[in-house]
């Protein structure tokens, strides 16, 4: 009898899950995880002399103006003032790359430009240099609306990302959607489950005591559900990043954000 009851309960749970999973979060109910932070953490993000990510931005600004590689050119030599040339760029990445025929994220774009235009060594993922330069570029989109969804070539990749978002995986057999679509706002071990919008990356995460990319955060979630993370730069991440940006379309960029 117990078995029957459990089976009944389980099918009810599955049915409830199916109903909840049917739709994305309504556009007007989306919220940045900034809203869930403590007053102190908000103050830290709001003040550029208190936000530790701004230390990296200073390094990024220096890198922007540093000549690199065989070309002897800096980013600024081609792109000029980042405040104008990079305005809104991070708000529309990942973007479609003609050469590879698929979307690339901001970090990959930086390395493509380093290798092709500067003829320099690519930066390692999560290296201080990569984080600093991507934070400096992302800062130029602060306050801009996320807007990368009109390119029709991105559509199949957004769908791939959506499939990954709904794919159960890992030993805990959980999908991203089960937490971030169906149960956002509830508690998970004392933390509020966020909606998982990528509008503040790269973020200074207090737990990391460091700046980190969206891919690092995705790996973090994958380890959390005991799935094996993909290596940095894997196309699976870029598709997922693309879907997350599409899902957050129209939301305001906060980069570089602070998160607990």
């Amino acid at each position: 009898m117990n078995g029957k009851l459990i089976a009944l309960g389980f099918s009810a749970l599955v049915a409830a899950g199916a109903i909840a999973m049917a739709a994305d979060i309504p556009l007007d109910q989306r919220r940045s995880s900034y809203e869930d932070m403590s007053r102190d953490n908000k103050a830290m993000q709001d003040d550029d002399t208190a936000n530790p990510a701004m230390l990296f931005v200073l390094d990024g600004e220096a890198l922007w103006n540093t000549k690199a590689g065989a070309s002897g050119k800096s980013c600024a030599d081609c792109h000029g003032d980042a405040a104008t040339s990079m305005k809104g760029v991070a708000a529309r990445y990942p973007a479609f790359d003609d050469a590879s025929g698929r979307p690339v994220d901001l970090e990959q774009r930086i390395n493509i430009s380093r290798q092709k235009n500067q003829q320099a060594e690519p930066f390692r993922y999560e290296s201080r240099e990569m984080l600093a330069l991507s934070a400096y570029i992302a800062l130029q989109s602060r306050g801009e609306a996320i807007s990368q969804y009109d390119d029709p070539r991105l559509k199949p990749f957004i769908e791939k990302g959506r499939a990954a978002f709904h794919q159960r995986q890992g030993q805990l057999n959980l999908s991203c959607a089960q937490c971030h679509d169906d149960n956002w706002g509830k508690s998970l071990a004392g933390n509020i489950i966020p909606q998982a919008h990528p509008n503040g990356y790269p973020i200074y995460r207090l737990e990391w005591q460091n700046l980190g990319s969206l891919q690092r955060r995705l790996r973090n979630c994958m380890t959390g559900i005991r799935a094996e993370p993909y290596p940095f730069g894997a196309p699976e991440y870029v598709d997922l990043e693309l879907f997350l940006m599409w899902r957050a379309r129209g939301m305001t960029m906060e980069s570089p954000g602070v998160r607990p």
């Binding site: 230390l55 200073l58 005591q209």
Partner: protein
């Protein structure tokens, strides 16, 4: 990175006798010396051990930092605006680490 980045927040202007807030943020790994790398070798301690803030060469705030302080230490403290001049911030630590920053204040 040769020099550590610093971010200082001092009000540029204040009235004489006002209590002002001073904030000082510095980029530093604050490696606590208790961790091991992937090969199991201990990572040597590398922290900031002392901080001094001087107002026109007179120390107004000092702090001793220990391994439990997190990376990129952020210190906030208060003082009374007495005179126009320079506020100097000095951090020092392991491996000969030394960094200085200054800020100007006008007191009316």
């Amino acid at each position: 990175m040769a020099a550590a980045r610093t971010l200082i927040n001092v009000p540029p202007k204040a009235k004489r006798g006002d209590v002002i807030t001073i904030r000082a943020l510095i980029s530093h790994v604050m490696e606590n010396g208790f961790r091991h790398n992937n090969m199991g070798e201990p990572i040597p301690r590398d922290i900031i051990t002392s901080f001094v803030c001087s107002y026109n060469d007179e120390p107004i705030f000092e702090a001793t930092l220990y391994p439990a302080i997190s990376a990129n230490p952020f210190l906030t403290f208060y003082t009374v605006a007495t005179d126009s001049g320079t506020i100097t911030f000095k951090w020092s630590g392991d491996n000969g680490f030394a960094q200085e920053a200054t800020a100007k204040i006008t007191v009316e």
